[in-house]
């Protein structure tokens, strides 16, 4: 749960800190090319990490009690929000770039870039909050106190 969650959230933060900043500075043609390639790389890895972390957090919540359970449920809930919001908000934007041939700029690319950036910054904050909940669930009310054995 924590290993997958750490890598997933680290990836989200890396995108928010590095790629988003660079994409803002590129012209639309360069952005469309780089964004399309980046999404192709990130797409299989990030959802897999999110699913592993979410599933493990759900199992942890089911065997924990007290504060650990509440925190694990909060973390799982935040991960579920990230998953659903990614499918509803980010995926349609990603596919607009992905389904076009490489180098072709989709219509309204500037609006899509702005929307994706805003969404991703919110998603990164939610990811950090989810990871913090899961870490605190494990450390502050950890196995010896919070998890039924």
């Amino acid at each position: 749960m924590l290993s997958a969650g750490g890598l997933f959230t680290g990836g989200l933060v890396w995108y928010a800190w590095e790629r988003v900043w660079i994409w803002r500075r590129l012209d639309l043609g360069e952005f469309a090319l780089d964004f399309r390639r980046s999404v192709r790389r990130a797409d299989p890895a990030m959802p897999i990490l999110l699913m592993i972390c979410g599933a493990a957090a759900g199992v942890f919540a089911s065997i924990a009690d007290g504060v650990a359970r509440t925190l694990a449920l909060a973390g799982t809930g935040l991960l579920a929000v990230i998953l659903v919001a990614s499918i509803v908000v980010a995926e349609p934007i990603n596919s607009q770039f992905r389904r076009l041939p490489e180098g072709v700029v989709p219509p309204q690319a500037e609006r899509l870039r702005r929307r994706w950036r805003r969404f991703h910054l919110i998603r990164a904050c939610l990811g950090v909050a989810a990871l913090a909940c899961l870490i605190v669930a494990v450390t502050y009310a950890g196995p010896s106190r919070g998890v039924a054995r």
Partner: protein, 147 residues
């Protein structure tokens, strides 16, 4: 183990390892296919951003992992000490091996294409080793917390 040390250790360690893995997974393949000049420009842009965040996360993680090792007992102490040693190795390896390559590539100095290609290959190899070390270190930190 003190929870006050474990929380920052896991949070900063996770974000650090996730960042390193993302560069290895997303940037390294992209840089392999670009031209030498595009690679140098993209590499410099990435470094400019990453050099502010990653060392800060690494430092927080190192201090809190040492804190964990000091306050823990038994297996947790050994694992946290091992994780701290791995982080220290990672830090020294980065400074000794990768930072000089980064400085050379980032500088505006004209270099022959073959030299840049060689540096790119060396940096890639070094970064992949760093990625494996960072993931192993983070895993050790997680295990130290739950034992």
């Amino acid at each position: 183990m003190s929870q006050w040390w474990a929380t920052p250790m896991l949070l900063s360690g996770g974000l650090f390892a996730g960042g390193v893995v993302s560069i290895a997974w997303e940037r390294v393949p992209a840089w392999q296919t670009t031209t030498i000049s595009d690679f140098r420009m993209g590499f410099a842009h990435t470094l400019r951003r990453v050099d502010r965040l990653q060392p800060a996360l690494l430092s927080i993680c190192l201090v809190s992992t040492i804190g964990c090792a000091v306050t823990a007992a038994g297996a947790a102490r050994s694992l946290a000490a091992l994780a701290a040693a791995a982080l220290l190795l990672l830090l020294v390896g980065s400074v000794a091996w990768l930072v000089p390559i980064q400085r050379t590539l980032k500088s505006g100095t004209q270099l022959p294409a073959a030299a840049v290609d060689g540096l790119r290959a060396r940096w890639r190899r070094g970064h992949l080793i760093r990625t494996v070390a960072a993931v192993a270190q983070f895993t050790l930190a997680v295990v130290a917390t739950i034992v």
